[in-house]
Assembly symmetry: C2
Homo-oligomer: 152 residues x 2
DNA sequence: TTTATTAGTTGCATATGTCAATCATTATTC
DNA sequence: GAATAATGATTGACATATGCAACTAATAAA
């Protein structure tokens, strides 16, 4: 398998590209609202947080400039997927909340994704997938450590 | 491990983000030329081809519009990493060639990447990584099949 | 030799992204 | 308690990224 000679990042990008392509096509068919990938990732990440989140948190978490996040939130708010709510304890902050509509969209997307996954993973064992997730998780954690270390 | 509940795409994105962040920081330190990720992926993909490649091929392969690729090639050409050469058999076509400078950049990047990889993969077994690559490859191939199937 | 197809290009619109400057609010310090 | 600093959000300027539609030049098909 010559694939092993390819840089890890490239391997993953090459996997992700056609996968997201199919995902986008299917999502476009079933939902009228069309989100770009960065928008969806932002929406998903806000939703995922258990604590209150503000713009600054998302900028840090996604590794982008605040203004980039701000403009995406503008778009998400225009589509009624996210709301800004002023924090009454600190009026500089806007808490970001996913609306019911946003939650429905995420649920819909998750369904499409899980259907796609079962097609994509056909032929792979449970054990293989556990290993895959383990490796992905490992790389994520290590990368974050390195990122923090080199930022200091 | 609750991570398994996350959509596969999200898991991979979450792995890729900090990894690329570190990669970019290190690459920026060692090379004066700064490429964006899409530019680098394009450069790498042109380089990877064994046969002659033209703009149209890259647009198809990367799943983007011809004009998007065209403008990136403009940028890569301006940076002297890629050259267009008119195909003498069919003068509509421009063959894309990676320059020596481009090749050096790729080699440099590969080195940085492989160093990073050995840090990131520390603690994972060979067998784990083989499984990871196998799964990634499997997903890529299946996705491409689905993509083609749904395009027809 | 018309006509159709193909590869590349251009204009336009939107999205994404960084940086620097600014505004309002809250914390700190003297 | 008033001046100053720090924080969070916003804006403007600018470059890149991306898709769509219209167009040009070259080649293939009729």
């Amino acid at each position: 398998m010559e694939i092993v000679k390819m840089p890890l990042g490239m391997v993953v990008i090459k996997m992700l590209k056609p996968m997201f392509c199919v995902l986008e096509m299917r999502a476009a068919k079933q939902t009228d609202l069309k989100l770009t990938m960065p928008q969806f990732v932002l929406l998903f990440t806000i939703n995922e947080e258990k604590e209150e989140v503000i713009l600054k948190d998302m900028a840090e978490k996604l590794g982008k400039d605040k203004s980039a996040i701000l403009r995406m939130i503008d778009l998400l708010e225009k589509k009624e997927l996210v709301r800004r709510v002023v924090d009454q304890n600190d009026r500089r902050k806007n808490q970001l909340m996913v609306t019911k509509k946003g939650e429905r969209l995420i649920a819909e997307f998750r369904k499409i994704e899980s259907e796609l996954n079962s097609e994509l993973l056909e032929g792979l064992s449970e054990a293989d997938m556990e290993t895959f997730y383990k490796v992905a998780n490992h790389i994520q954690i290590k990368s974050e450590q390195l990122k923090i270390a080199s930022t200091i």
